[in-house]
């Protein structure tokens, strides 16, 4: 039961060397970078993405050891292993090979290295796109506005020994999240109006306290940066900000400080990335069970700051159910509770000021969160329904009986077809034959219309016997709604889609297709109406705004609750012939959000508000509600040090 001190593996440089470097080469803006190249005389080996051994991840992400050798660790340049103008790892991407077949490169995922023979057809038929019409990224690195530094702040920061950089690449990398317009701008080599002036890497809670103190002293704007997976423009620097903007990168605060097996909680630094957290806990036989789709890259602090939701929330809960204690550094000091009681009646829960505060109040530095023993057994499953209505009715019934598996998702027909397009080349004639037989059974024998049928994917977890029992219960319910069990394989494929879909957007952008996703939560009785109306609205708006090709609009019900569901939309269109595709896209998304709100959907289920959806906050929580939040902000951060201007 002794607390364990764990570390995710990467060691940042010592602060001494950083300051030394700056002193020895004061003139060049590459000073830090170059110095560390010189200073690091030996090669360091990191395990950036070690074998994923846990049951929960390894089935989805391929087991692959990536050992990378770098000459320098300074600046912790994520851009060396991750794309600077797209999603995810540099080595993983979709492309159409010389034969015109799609393949997924790299070794990290189950799909990696595989040829996907039906993707091209699907792609061309769905979007009216052609693999011959390429729109490759403009490769000139974007011009970066010069850093405007607060010299006094920089001087004081140096004295603390906390590493920092004002390297253009570092700054641009942290100037954006993954909204379409952000990635599009990077690809097109367009200039960001405003980027952080410098990046700072605190190593622990106390470093953050020092940085925030200095920021207050010198009136510097701080923007916390975790995994960088925001899709709400939350990481964009406000163009009107005239102060020096410092991006506070939490990536070095990535240790599990202790595990308390008696209470089943772990105390973790907030910069840790989802997959690292899970892997490290797995080594001790535990997991958090919190698996948002972005878990490969998103951070614990980011989850807290946006009220994240994980795919297996039915068993483990959403982030607000998982946290026991949060430590936050604000301009007024540190907020934390005095004990770890599992529930308190001490006025409004102060955690709820922090959860979803989107970096406007301070930096989450340490979190105590619940952990669970790794489940003994895991099983995927899937059910085919004749149509979306039947599927939704089934999910509703499952929610009513409170017997939802760890994950249950319903994909509409468009997504079902999309999933099929991602089927790898079939290896044997026999599998081909079996597939054909299954298809025949469902479409001909059972009379399902292939253009109507939908599929629910399931994931069960627990001890073996219970899982099997649970499975039977769910399949029985499904049967009453005309659902047919469709096998583990189809279920698993559905979850693979989750991790690779962001990569697919990059492929689309290579061929004049822009795509984005957005989500909402909605009461059960409005799910169908909302889905239909939002899709129709998107189609209509695209037409009215001159989109030449039929857009792809697809949705899935991704979470079930007692009183409603979370619905996730994908939306993509071929933008050939449009002068400003991003603007068109944004107007359509705006209209879609209005439609969601008019149909009883929420502003966001888990993505957050950022700057993208600020305009609807008043409507969503009333102007009094906005006032309440504003008064908290005014008290905690009177000088707007945390000036990312999200939310309010």
């Amino acid at each position: 039961g002794a607390p364990l001190l764990l570390n995710c593996g990467r060691r940042p440089p010592t602060a001494d060397s950083a300051t030394a470097a700056d002193k020895t080469n004061p003139r060049g803006k590459h000073c830090l970078w170059l110095c560390f190249r010189v200073l690091s005389s030996c090669l360091e080996i990191f395990v950036l993405c070690p074998p994923l051994t846990s049951d929960s991840i390894s089935t989805v992400l391929a087991a692959a050891t990536i050992t990378m050798t770098l000459t320098s660790t300074v600046c912790f340049p994520r851009q060396e292993i991750m794309k600077w103008n797209g999603w995810g790892y540099s080595d993983s991407k979709f492309l159409f090979n010389k034969k015109g077949q799609a393949e997924f490169t790299g070794k990290r995922y189950r799909l990696s290295g595989m040829v996907l023979p039906s993707l091209q057809d699907w792609f061309e038929n769905t979007f009216g796109a052609s693999v011959n019409h390429k729109s490759p990224p403009a490769l000139n690195a974007s011009a970066v506005p010069p850093a405007s530094l607060n010299e006094a702040f920089v001087e004081d920061l140096k004295a603390t020994g906390i590493p920092f950089s004002h390297e253009a690449e570092d700054r641009v990398f942290r100037a954006h999240g993954h909204c379409l317009h952000e990635i599009f701008a990077l690809r097109e080599g367009k200039k960001f109006e405003r980027v952080p002036d410098m990046v700072v890497w605190p190593n622990c809670h106390n470093d953050v306290v020092k940085i925030v103190e200095l920021a207050c002293k010198h009136n510097v704007c701080l923007i916390p940066y975790g995994g960088g997976t925001s899709v709400t423009s939350a990481l964009e620097c406000p163009p009107e900000e005239t102060r020096c903007i410092v991006s506070l990168d939490t990536s070095q605060m990535n240790r599990i400080l202790w595990i308390d097996e008696k209470n089943l909680v772990a105390h973790v630094e907030a910069g840790i990335i989802g997959q690292d957290l899970e892997r490290l806990l797995n080594e001790s036989g535990y997991c958090t069970g919190h698996e948002p789709d972005s878990m490969e890259f998103s951070s614990l602090g980011g989850w807290v700051a946006t009220r994240a939701s994980g795919m297996k929330k039915n068993v483990y809960g959403n982030i607000e159910d998982l946290v026991i204690h949060i430590k936050v550094v604000t301009p007024r000091g540190v907020i934390e509770k005095s004990c770890q009681g599992p529930r308190m009646s001490t006025g409004p829960d102060i955690h709820h000021f922090i959860l979803g505060s989107e970096g406007t109040l301070g930096v989450v530095t340490e979190v105590t969160m619940k952990i669970r023993p790794i489940p003994e057994y895991q099983k995927y499953g899937s059910v085919v329904f004749p149509n979306f209505e039947a599927g939704v009715a089934c999910l509703r019934e499952v929610a009513k009986q409170r017997c939802a598996p760890a994950s249950i998702r319903l994909m509409d027909n468009e997504q079902f077809q999309f999933g099929h397009a991602l089927k790898p080349q079939v290896s044997s004639i026999f599998t081909n034959f079996v597939e054909g037989l299954k298809k025949f059974y469902i479409t001909k024998f059972k009379g399902f219309d292939p253009h109507q049928l939908v599929v629910a994917t399931l994931l069960f977890e627990g001890d073996r016997e219970r899982v099997l029992q649970h499975e039977k219960q769910v399949y029985d319910i499904a049967a009453t709604f005309g659902g047919l069990a469709a096998g583990e394989d189809n279920g698993q494929r559905g979850y693979i889609l989750t991790f690779v879909i962001a990569y697919l957007r990059d492929l689309g952008m290579d061929y004049y297709v822009v795509a984005e996703s957005f989500e909402t939560s909605v009461p059960w009785d409005r799910v169908l109406d909302l889905c239909r109306n939002v899709k129709e609205r998107i189609n209509r708006e695209c037409k009215e705004r001159g989109v030449q090709f039929q857009p792809l609009t697809s949705c899935r019900v991704t979470q079930t609750y007692d009183a409603g569901a979370c619905v996730y939309f994908y939306f993509a269109f071929n933008y050939r012939g449009l002068a400003d595709p991003v603007h068109t896209y944004e107007r359509v998304e705006h209209a879609a959000r209005e439609e969601i709100l008019a149909n009883g959907g929420s502003l966001s289920h888990h993505h957050g508000v950022g700057k993208l959806r600020k305009e609807w906050m008043k409507e969503s929580i009333s102007s009094l509600g906005v006032g309440m939040l504003q008064s908290v902000k005014d008290y905690v951060d009177p000088d707007n040090i945390f000036g990312n201007r999200n939310l309010l």
């Binding site: 009785d525 709100l597 008019a598």
Partner: protein
């Protein structure tokens, strides 16, 4: 409101023109009878009928539809509510609901439709010269039916209307509508059932407080709409207009068909205004008698058979214009916040919010105006307007000359005039007179109204009555053109009655008239400034009026136009004045609402017989009701319920001053003060 600035004027005119522009580009017509005259009706009735439906929906059997309604959450909620209130078991209430639905529901059968297709082909060919339909409108409708639930909103001038509508949709292979019909048809044993089988569903005329009835009814309509099983058709005006003026729209059904959009149950609803114009209305003289107080014959099968007589007459042509589908979604954009429906379960009935109510009201008026705009006018309506201003008769040559003049004026005001191409004017006038020989005759080169043949000796009252029938019949044709001239005509009257030519004062008079006549004519609530600007624009455009600085003055050539307009509205001004005078001079203390109409009628008869009044139109119960409604709205008269009777309490001072303004004796400003 009192000052209207010049810049505001320009903007408004621009807006008005923009709004009206699409209507000005009207489609051409096809005669659907032509084919019927050249090929077999039987074949036509038995031909393959396979209409396209909303988004490939499968047609729903009448019984299945009833089950969906009876099992709906909406109805269950109300059943439980009624059961709790009445103490009756839910099963019994459920049974009641089932009975109501049975009485209400349509039983659309293609065989019945085929029967009507055959029978109506025969009847139409004998009654009418042409039945003309704008085919582009049909194409638009076909498109709309596939994309959205469609509500057909025809004008209502004749019993023929809804059979005609179904006949046309059948002819063009479009989905047959289900039609909301008044329960009075049900009285016609056999015919009622025939209509039911051709798609009519029957609703009680009044069911004020009956929650259950309302729930069954609204759920029945909404179920059909939500699923897009069939286009829904009803008459916004609620009943046949006996005067050929459009009636103030009724909102009940419109509320029902729009609500599914607000609740997000459908993406959009398309409202399709349909204008059905008859060159001669079958019920022409029947209506006039009804307005004069001869009660409407009860709908009965034998009555219908007696009406066969009409089969021998020529009723000219019918024009049916399917207007541009109006998207409720686009109309509601920025006017109704749908998210206000988010916090209440959708199956619980709720009174619509104020925002919604005013939207629905506004929409109803817009649709009726769209109906008016696409009504086809025949030369005769122009002649009728002229004849009514010259009750003593008119030289044929003068009538011809003035008709030509009026045609020019109507066309410049964008009237939808069906004037025969390439025919000499004299021919047009004479053939119009021939078709309407029951109303006007030419003798000795003079044209005058026909007065019903006296059979033996007649009392002065009977003679007066006969004359009134022909005046009112004739007025029903003039009324058809009123919507074209209404706004400039009100301005002309306002200019005439205003104390000076100051724009402000004219506007005050105009707004008084606008308010006064808003039961008689379709004036969209809140459009008063826009209507004023439109009137100014039109009169300036045709050169009748100039607007130097802040004045409105007649031009040298404006006299004929302005005096025609004054004459056009004269019967209304006089009629309202007679009502005012009656209320001030004659009305007794305990005048009940019931006594009101006969009392005004006999008051007017007295005046006419004494030679003090030449206006017969005041004898119309329609005008009397509208005048009373206006006075009630203006608080000059109040209704008080005493025991079982509603009594009218008259504020004589207020009524008197309204009388004076109408007569041009009192400036509007003072009158308005007096009202306060």
């Amino acid at each position: 409101m009192s000052t209207v600035c010049a810049s505001c004027f320009n903007i408004l005119v621009f807006v008005t023109l923009q709004q009206r522009d699409p209507m000005l580009k009207r489609d051409g017509f096809e005669d659907i009878l032509e084919e019927r005259r050249n090929s077999s009706d039987l074949k036509y009735a038995l031909r393959c009928y396979a209409p396209v439906l909303y988004k490939g929906v499968t047609p729903c059997k009448a019984n299945m539809l009833k089950n969906i309604v009876l099992q709906s959450d909406q109805l269950h909620y109300v059943i439980n509510q009624v059961s709790q209130e009445s103490g009756e078991a839910p099963d019994i209430i459920q049974e009641e609901a089932s009975v109501i639905l049975e009485e209400m529901a349509h039983r659309l059968q293609i065989s019945t439709v085929r029967f009507f297709a055959f029978a109506l082909s025969k009847a139409f060919k004998t009654l009418f010269q042409h039945v003309c339909v704008n085919e582009e409108g049909i194409q638009r409708l076909q498109q709309a039916i596939q994309e959205h639930p469609v509500v057909l909103l025809p004008s209502h001038r004749s019993y023929m209307d809804f059979l005609l509508m179904s006949y046309i949709l059948y002819t063009y292979d479009l989905a047959l509508p289900v039609i909301a019909a008044g329960m009075d048809f049900m009285g016609m044993k056999f015919v009622g059932e025939m209509l039911r089988m051709s798609g009519a569903f029957f609703i009680r005329r009044s069911f004020g407080g009956d929650k259950l009835y309302w729930a069954v009814f609204s759920e029945y309509v909404k179920t059909m709409l939500r699923n897009g099983f069939a286009p829904i058709e009803f008459f916004l005006e609620g009943t046949r207009s006996r005067t050929c003026k459009s009636l103030t729209p009724k909102l009940g059904l419109l509320n029902i068909v729009i609500e599914p959009f607000f609740k997000g149950e459908v993406f959009d609803v398309n409202l399709v205004p349909v204008s059905i114009s008859y060159e001669r209305i079958l019920e022409e003289s029947l209506y006039a008698r009804e307005l004069l107080g001869v009660p409407k014959p009860k709908e009965s099968t034998s009555g219908l058979l007696k009406a066969r007589r009409i089969l021998s007459e020529d009723y000219g042509s019918i024009h049916v214009y399917f207007g541009q589908p109006v998207s409720v979604r686009s109309l509601a954009q920025g006017k109704v916040n749908r998210s206000t429906y988010n916090l209440f379960p959708r199956h619980i009935p709720r009174k619509p919010m104020e925002e919604t109510q005013s939207f629905v009201n506004d929409t109803a008026y817009r649709i009726v105006r769209l109906q008016e705009d696409n009504m086809v006018l025949k030369p005769w309506v122009l002649m009728a307007s002229l004849l009514l201003q010259n009750l003593e008769g008119l030289e044929l040559s003068v009538l011809t000359e003035q008709t030509v003049w009026l045609r020019g004026l109507a066309l410049s005001y964008a009237a939808f005039l069906d004037w025969p191409d390439h025919a000499p004017t004299a021919k047009v006038v004479s053939s119009s007179l021939a078709l309407h020989r029951g109303l006007a005759c030419v003798s000795g080169g003079r044209v005058s109204l026909v007065v019903g043949e006296p059979l033996g000796p007649v009392t002065p009252e009977e003679a007066l009555f006969n004359r009134a029938v022909s005046v009112l019949s004739c007025a029903s044709y003039r009324n058809q053109v009123l919507h074209v001239f209404l706004r400039p005509a009100m301005l002309a009257v306002a200019m005439h009655t205003a104390a000076s030519s100051k724009k402000n004062e004219v506007y005050n008079c105009f707004s008084f008239l606008w308010d006064m006549f808003s039961n008689d004519f379709i004036l969209c609530p809140g459009d008063i400034v826009q209507d004023f600007e439109e009137a100014c624009y039109l009169l300036v455009k045709t050169g009748a009026v100039q607007m130097p600085q802040q004045d409105i003055v007649m031009t040298d050539i404006g006299q004929p136009t302005l005096s025609f307009f004054n004459g056009l509205l004269e019967p209304f001004l006089q009629g309202y004045q007679v009502v005012c005078r009656y209320l001030c001079e004659e009305a007794s203390e305990g005048l009940t609402e019931k006594q009101y109409i006969p009392a005004v009628r006999s008051f007017a008869v007295k005046l006419i017989l004494a030679g003090n009044l030449r206006c017969y139109e005041v004898l119309s119960s329609d005008m009397q009701k509208n005048a009373l409604a206006a006075l009630l709205r203006m608080d000059a008269v109040r209704k008080v319920k005493v025991a079982d009777q509603v009594t009218l309490i008259v504020n004589k001072m207020a009524v008197n001053s309204i009388d004076d303004i109408l007569g041009g004796k009192l400036p509007t400003q003072k009158a308005l003060l007096a009202r306060l």
